[in-house]
Structures are given as C-alpha cells and as structure tokens.
Amino acid sequence: MRFPIKTKSSNWNSAEGRKLSFLKRFKESLVRSTGLSNKKRVFRDRAILIFNNTSEVIRAESVLKAKGWQLKVMGPPPEIQSGCDLVIEIPLIEKLNILRVLEESNNLPLDTAPVSSTLLKPVDIYQIKDFGDYLMVRAANMKLTIDKRTKVIVNISGGGCPDVPYLAGEMVGRHLDESPTPRDIGHTLCGYALQLAYEEMRRKCTP
C-alpha cells in the first residue's frame, strides 16, 4: 500500500494560485465557524475533492465511476466558488482509496476538505419538448435537439461558457451514437449540463 497520498503541490499557474487562496480562506473559515481543528474534523463522514477546473472534475468523476463508486458532483461551498466550479462529494472513509485511484490516473485533486455545510445541488429537472420530427431535451440551462428520424443532433442551444459553441461545433450533424460526448470534450458547468441532456436524450432514444 502506498501511503500517504498527497495532493498537487507545485507548479501552480495563476489560476491555480487564486484557487488555492480561496482554499486557504475556506479552511480558515471552517476553523472559525466550527471551532474545530483540522485533526478533529476528520471524523465527519463526507468530504469534497476540490479541483482546479471543471474539466478535471469531469475526468475524475469518469475514472471513479468506472471503478464503481457512486459519487455526487456538487456545487462548492461559497468560500471557494470562483464562478464555474464543481466538486466531488465522497465518503470520507473512502478518501485514501479514491485518492489512490486518482493518482494512478493522474487526476489528483488540488485538495480535499470536510463537508462543512449544505452543498449546492445541480439542477436535475429535465424538460422534453416534441416538435414532431424533432425532439428537444433541456437539462438546466442547456438544450439538445435531434431529428427523430435519423437520430442526428441538429442543434444545441443555451449556456454561457466558452465550450458551448465548441461542443455544438463538434456534436451538431453527428449521430447521437457517434457524437463525441460533452463528458469527453467539455470543460465547464454548461458542458456538464449538456452531458446530462445528452444522457437523457439517449435514454429517450433507447427502445
């Protein structure tokens, strides 16, 4: 067994540096709000994995789900929000195993922290709209439309992060089964929402 596993600690670029300063403030506020030291807080049963950006979260989630973990992707606590973030909520007791798997796949988080307050839950309501020959699925702020006759993706709309036009360029015109997925080529929360719409569309199109 390799022990202990450390999170990333060097070569920060400026974005990572800013994220780390958020993390420092977050940890300080945890101590202030709970009056507990870091040592005592390890007895809480949930923790969050904090990454530099959403693409890293998406990659780590894919790796962990492939290994059988049922994890929740959530919104970060306010202290570390920078505008386009996700964190992965994990059972604290599984932290070492999880970090080991992430290390092996070169997906280590920036840091881990105990859950100190209610995390924001992603929107999980879908809206389906039938246009006759076309079917649209909406998840959060993203919409994906296919031609029902051919299962070809004909439009993607909504969202405001820069990977939305990129994802649309890569996916529109492709068959639902042959299109690259937002999970593989997306990087932001809008990309993540589009993945949810894509998965729901596939469920709708599965006989």
Partner: protein, 286 residues
C-alpha cells in the same frame, strides 16, 4: 465606438483586437476569418447586420480562442485589464468568456480607473461572473433567458447549473424572479429577458412585453440569444436609449426568426441573414 468582447471556439485562434467586418457570411477580424455560428461570432454578425442598415462604424472585437479550458479567456482578461482604457470606447458588450470573479473584478476596476463611463452590456459567461461578483448594478443591460433570470434571482447560485427552485419554463414566474433579482441587487439597470414573452425591465419595473411573432422552433436553435444581444448593442450604439433599444431588438430578432421560416434544425446564420429586412420593417412601423 463600440466593442464586443468574447471568444471563438478554436484553441488556435490568437488574441485579437481589431475592427471586425463581414463579407459573404464570414467575419474578418484583423487577419483572422471566423465562420458565423452560435456564440460571440453570431452576436458580432447580428450587430454588423444592424450596422449595415443604420450606417454604423464597425465595432472593435476583442477575441481569443477558448474551448472551455479558460486559457484564452484569461489571456483576453489580462489584455483588457491593461489596454481597455486606451481605446476610448463608449459601449462595451461582454459575452462568452470563462466566468471568473477575480478577473471580472479586475476588468471592472480597469474601466473605473480609466475615467470613462461606457455603456456596459453583459450576457453569457461574463454576466454570470458579474452577478457572482456582486457588481451587477454597475451594468446598464443584462440579457438573460428565463433560466438565467432564475440564476440572477437566486442570491446563492454561482451558476445557472445550481439555481435553486429552477422551474423549467414557468413563464408566469418571471415577474417574481425579476423582483427577486433586484431585491438582492443581482440585476443590471435594465434587463432584456428572453422567453416565450420577451420582457424589458428598467430598475425592476417591466416596461415592455414582446410576444409576437411566435415561432416555436426558435427555442431549439443555438444562437438566437446571441443575435438579440448583438442587435441591442448596435441599436444602443446608434443612439437609441437602452430601454427602447431592448424592446426594438426583441421585435427585430423575432421577426428575423419568423422570416427564416425555421425548423429545429435551422442554423443561426440563416436567421442573421434576415436581420436587415426585419429591422427595416420594424423601424418602418415605429
């Protein structure tokens, strides 16, 4: 002079700051050619179409390639922080940029310290950052759709993905959401709320509603929100007050959509083509 700030979905696209023109449905910015498609290119194309009719000077485009990693957005932010004040801009429209509260603050500080007071318009990722930063009131116009309005109304949401109580397409909740967005000071001075019924809001009061023509397929077409933001930006540049320009832009955008006779597979370039005709007709009526 007006400027549009955004990204192009091509990682090899360099940081570019230059007047932008359009020929044969292709944008030209500096040495770079850009296809008209959803996102900032659609916004620019729509504003140029309005400019054709109203004889406006070409806008400056501040663009960088970004496919969501944020590198291009950060390079653009850094450029704007140091250079924006030197352009003497009267209207600034911010669009598809990686939401980043820290960089938003630095850009706003740069504008404040330049001593100028340009009309500030924000949509998409930069609007998300503006709300998150607590500086929404500094802006003259936000152009959210109903989902993004719910995000503005939720004082705790850092992104539309997390909006609490996000009820899909409950249009009847829009007035309540508008009130709440202003109550928590998360709205610009004006809102152009895109929906089944478009609503124009000034300091919390709904001053105009636009619900025709109704073209159902437009909801599925990527870029229809971008075009309305481009239209309103150009109309404001022409001297029309923000509240009037917002209502006019919604009417023009709807009419352009109607003229394109779209189905859900129609692409935004087909609607952009119809903007001059729709603008001339709408101006003729008014």
């Amino acid at each position: 002079m007006y400027a549009i700030v955004g990204t192009v979905p091509d990682p090899s696209f360099p940081l570019t700051a230059a007047p932008v023109t359009m020929r044969d449905n292709q944008l030209k910015c500096g040495d770079m050619a850009i296809n008209v498609n959803r996102g900032t290119p659609a916004l620019i194309a729509a504003s140029l179409k309005v400019g054709e009719v109203l004889n406006l000077e070409a806008p400056i485009a501040f663009l960088a390639g970004d496919t969501g990693i944020g590198k291009g957005s950060r390079e653009l932010y850094a450029f704007l922080e140091s250079e924006l004040g030197s352009f003497g801009l009267s209207i600034l429209c911010f669009h598809y940029l990686q939401p980043d509260v820290d960089w938003h603050f630095r850009i706003l500080e740069s504008i404040r310290s330049s001593g100028s007071s340009p009309v500030l318009i924000a949509d998409a990722g930069f609007m998300y950052a503006a709300k998150m930063s607590g500086d929404a009131e500094e802006y003259d116009l936000f152009t959210p759709d109903v989902g993004e309005l719910a995000f503005l109304a939720d004082e705790k949401a850092p992104h539309p993905f997390y909006t609490r109580g996000f009820i899909l397409h409950e249009e009847n909740k829009v007035p309540e959401l508008i009130t709440r967005a202003y109550q928590f000071r998360n709205a610009a001075k004006h809102l152009l709320v895109k929906g089944e019924t478009d609503r124009i809001v000034c300091q919390g009061a709904i001053i105009d509603c636009i619900d025709s023509p109704k073209t159902e397929a437009l909801e599925a077409i990527g870029g229809t929100g971008d075009t309305v933001t481009g239209i309103v930006t150009a109309l404001i540049t022409s001297g029309i007050p923000v509240d009037q320009a917002a209502g006019l832009a919604c009417r023009v955008n709807r009419l352009a959509g109607y003229y394109a006779q779209p189905d859900p597979a129609t692409q935004i370039a087909d609607i952009v083509d119809q903007i001059p005709k729709a603008l001339e007709e709408t101006l003729g009526k008014e």
